[in-house]
Amino acid sequence: MSDMNTAMVERYRNNFLKEVESHVEEGEWVKMCMQCGVCSGSCPLGNAWAHPPQELFMMIRAGKREEVLTSDSMWMCTSCYNCIVRCPRELPITHIMHGLAHYAKRLGLVPKKQPTNEFAEIFWNNMMKKGRVNELKLGLSMYFKDGFSQGIKNALANQKLGQSMMKAKRMNPMEIIGGHGIKNPSELQKIIQKAQEIEDKKLQGAN
């Protein structure tokens, strides 16, 4: 991963904007931002962003590669799409934020213990295993992501929640063994693996 990072630094030198254009989902829109700030003002978690979208766009143009990619700002995106529908220049901001987060992950630059990154990874692995999400395992993995004892603490804190969900038949302890899934998960895995390969190849060739 960090090899790729080094390669990218080498390839783009100080032109981070170009790197973003070629490697980040919807990245070629970044140059079209007119710095009005409507996105930042529309974000429900705006206060939690060290650098709201408007600023990230400016930082990309200013070549602040390290600061942008190691930031946990874009991980604050709740995918509410408010910025997208309000942007006067129609930038797909939500997607660009997702794209930046993914690119940072690809390069291994995500801050350690970034909870949304961890959750995203757990989610993806959980889903890929059987083709459908196993909610119980997803929840438990999330509780236990920081080790066993923290996991017990988390589980206890959410014990009441779990009990009432079970009572409402909206949580099933039996999911821990087996659970829902598609008929032939390996087939799906093959498809996705292929998609991954195509994408990796494309990104490596990009400049």
Binding site: L17, M34, L91
Partner: protein, 763 residues
């Protein structure tokens, strides 16, 4: 037309007037008190039938003066269009029934109001004459255009296309002005409809400047006579009969007559030598936008090279607002409006030549006017011009490169970048002559500090060389609105300067780009054409368009005090050989400020005079002091205050039953005698309503409202001599939108009268 006057009154009973008022009594008032020779009622006077009744009386019975007791003089003007007679209107609808509540106990005061308005209209009519042409008029379809740049050429082409003959005077040896130096111009048209916001959208490109074509069209036009290396050395006369001396450098002079004039004298580039902080003059690699254009033109699509060492430019920074939008000494306080799109255009020069050239525009507020503006901004973004919101503090030379220190306003940090070349987006300085009022009126109310600042700004802005050399008593050139730009009101009446028949176009009027200058020139040309035609009929220009009255004075009464010549906002009045005022009818806008200024009351219009208003004031019935029915005289400007009161009545606002409202052309026309006479004859309060008069004035005659306020500041002496309370006279600024406030101001005066008591002068 015989000199015999025949007066007829008409009372409309429509719109509820007949239900609310005793029309029979109004008729009696008109004939008995108002001395109308006849008075007729009609249930809908503005109907075809009603209009025909009046028309027949004029045509068959020789009626010359008509009084209409109906709606406001601002309503139904198309129906009541009797140009050959003198006409007054008693405002019974908006002025009385709509302004008063329909309640039984108020019937009496409402009827009194209506009777008074009938008396006033009749009295006004009695002192009115039908305006007659002065004989000064003549049709002249020649137009003088001063300035051979894009604005001047466009004005000439537009006016010529309409069939007018043009003399185009250009100071230099060639046409084209600054635009002749352009490599490309900012696009004129927006992206095609339906073009999206995506980063690959088809957006407008910079265009060929088109100046050569413009020059070719001017040269080919039979109606346009071009005078190169020439200036206007003398301009005299008035619209319809201007005379101008056009002199060449070598000394030859021709004299031509013109109906109207367009001044398109353009701008000068701001002197960047005043920007040492940006290293201008210290290194040749810091250029102004004007100089960069020259460089681009020379490169002609090839690589742009650094002036210092001929190295190909690999990085360039544009500094927006250089020496502009700044209060610093020597800087321009305003935004020149063209420089953002100009920098985008120039940044694209670099990108088109070499996409890897680092091209940064540092701006604090990007403003891209014009149809293509926003699309062109996007075009720059598509080509990866970097737009950085920041404030540049310093440019310095550091070894091989330039260093630009700036504050990034988005990231809120002080930072620095290097560049091979720095372009300063400097502004426009109007190329106007000396302001006739530079040292007097504009600084009257300034503090010393402000004056100093203004003088410093004036030094930057104003060229001392006259452009028009007007042979006017009030200065050689067009009065300036702000920062040296010649105009009289940017928003409400563009192109109209304070010299009637002389229109400003292009960057001498306000800073603008080429496309705007061309649109501006077309607008000014239209105005000039219109003025040629109006002057031919002796009719007024804006805002009393078509008014045939004009001021005249009784020579035997005149004391040659010169006040009228000084106070005329439009420089319409010269002096004759005997030092009497010389009115130039077609320079006059008919505001009556001269009439209000005259201490001996010798200036009048046929249909508006000290007498027409004075008689209205006299003919209001003043009830006995013990009737407890005060009378409040309201003199309301016909442009804003009077319509605001009409609108108030239409919207259901109520106006005090004690008020008697008289529209005046401008508060500037108010004669002090009206004030003293009304105080002497028992009015309890006086309210004057004019337009806003400060720097951001709304006065349609520019200075009238301010003049009035100055004169009224001395009314205290009169009040004192009569032993009356000073609060009985109030002067207010009223906007056309003040529909709640205007009636309230009258009510406030009613409350004052209630407090201080009735006037003791009721006889």
């Amino acid at each position: 037309m015989s000199d015999e006057k025949k007066f007829a009154g008409y009372i409309c009973t429509g719109c509820g007037i007949g239900d609310r008022l005793d029309a029979g009594q109004l008729e009696t008032t008109a004939t008995r008190d108002g001395k109308m020779q006849s008075c007729k009622q009609h249930e809908m006077l503005c109907s075809a039938e009603g209009v025909k009744m009046i028309r027949d009386d004029i045509d068959n019975d020789g009626v010359t003066h008509i009084m209409l007791g109906a709606c406001s003089r601002r309503a139904k003007v198309e129906a009541f269009n009797f140009t050959e007679v003198a006409m007054t209107r008693a405002n019974l609808r908006e002025g009385v029934i709509w302004a008063r509540p329909d309640e039984d106990e108020l019937t009496e005061t409402t009827q009194e109001m209506a009777d008074d308005y009938i008396r006033m209209a009749c009295a006004e009519l009695k002192s009115m004459n039908i305006p007659k042409p002065s004989g000064e008029q003549g049709l002249n379809r020649n137009i003088l255009v001063v300035g051979g740049g894009v604005s001047g050429m466009t004005a000439a082409i537009e006016a010529a296309a309409a069939g007018y003959s043009i003399h185009l005077v250009e100071k230099t040896g060639s046409l084209g002005g600054h635009a002749a130096g352009l490599y490309k111009r900012v696009p004129f048209r927006a992206a095609a409809p339906g073009v999206g916001n995506d980063p690959h959208a088809q957006l407008p490109d910079a265009e060929e400047p088109g100046v050569d074509e413009l020059i070719a069209r001017v040269e080919a036009d039979q109606r346009i006579t071009v005078h190169l290396n020439s200036t206007v050395t003398k301009t005299s006369g008035a619209p319809g009969r201007f005379s101008a001396d056009i002199s060449t450098e070598s000394g030859g002079t021709t004299t031509e007559n013109f109906g109207a004039i367009v001044q398109a004298s353009g701008f000068k580039p701001y002197d960047a030598a005043q920007l040492p902080e940006f290293a201008y003059g210290k290194t040749p690699d810091v250029l102004t936008n004007f100089e960069l254009e020259k460089l681009a033109k020379e490169a002609n699509g090839g690589p742009l090279k650094r002036p210092s060492d001929g190295k190909e430019v690999k990085s360039v920074a544009f500094v927006q607002c250089a020496g502009q939008r700044s209060q610093k000494e020597g800087h321009l306080a305003y935004c020149s409006g063209f420089c953002c799109t100009e920098s985008i255009k120039q940044a694209i020069y670099f990108k088109d030549q070499n996409p890897d050239c680092d091209t940064t525009i540092i701006y604090s507020d990007l403003r891209t006017p014009g149809a293509a503006g926003e699309d062109f901004y996007r075009a720059g973004q598509e080509k990866m011009v970097i737009f950085t919101k920041g404030q540049v503090a310093e440019v310095s030379s550091s070894g091989d490169a330039l260093s630009v220190k700036f504050k990034d306003l988005i990231l809120d940090e002080d930072t620095e970048m290097t560049a091979d070349l720095v372009v300063l987006a400097t502004g426009m300085v109007p190329n106007s002559g000396p302001d006739p009022y530079a040292s007097s009126e504009s600084q009257e109310e300034m503090s010393d500090e402000e004056k100093e600042e203004a003088n410093a700004a004036a030094e930057v802005a104003v060229s001392v060389e006259s452009i028009l050399n007007l042979d006017y008593r009030q200065g050689t050139d067009l009065p300036q609105l702000k920062y040296g730009f010649v105009d009289s009101h940017f928003i409400c009446f563009p192109y109209e300067t304070r010299r009637t028949g002389i229109y400003a176009a292009g960057p001498v009027r306000r800073p603008m780009d080429m496309k705007q200058a061309m649109d501006d020139a077309a607008g000014a040309a239209m105005k000039a054409i219109k003025e040629c035609e109006l002057a031919a009929h002796g009719a007024a220009a804006h805002p009393r368009v078509g008014d045939l009255s004009y001021p005249s004075f009784r020579k035997e009464g005149c004391t040659q005090c010169k006040r009228c010549t000084v106070e005329c906002p439009f420089g319409a009045i010269n002096e004759d050989e005997e030092r009497y005022p010389l009115f130039n009818e077609s320079r006059c806008r008919r505001c009556g400020t001269c009439m209000g200024a005259c201490p001996v009351r010798v200036i009048s219009f046929d249909n508006y005079s000290v007498e027409t208003v004075g008689q209205q004031i006299k003919n209001v019935e003043i009830p006995d002091e013990f009737d407890e029915k005060p009378r409040i005289l309201v003199l309301a400007c016909e442009n804003d205050a009077y319509p605001a009161l009409d609108q108030a009545a239409m919207s259901g606002e109520k106006i005090s039953q004690w008020a008697r409202i008289i529209p005046v052309r401008c508060l500037g026309s108010v004669s002090m005698s009206w004030i003293t006479d009304s105080l002497n004859s028992g009015y309890d309060g006086i309210v004057l309503m004019g337009c806003r008069r400060d720097e951001d004035y709304q006065c349609h005659f520019v200075r009238g409202s301010k003049m009035a306020a100055e004169r009224m500041s001395k009314v205290g002496d009169t009040l004192e001599s009569l032993n009356l309370e000073p609060e009985r006279v109030a002067v207010h600024e009223v906007a056309i939108t003040d529909i709640q406030r205007a009636p309230q101001l009258i009510q406030d005066m009613a409350d004052v009268v209630e407090k201080v008591g009735m006037s003791p002068f009721k006889f």
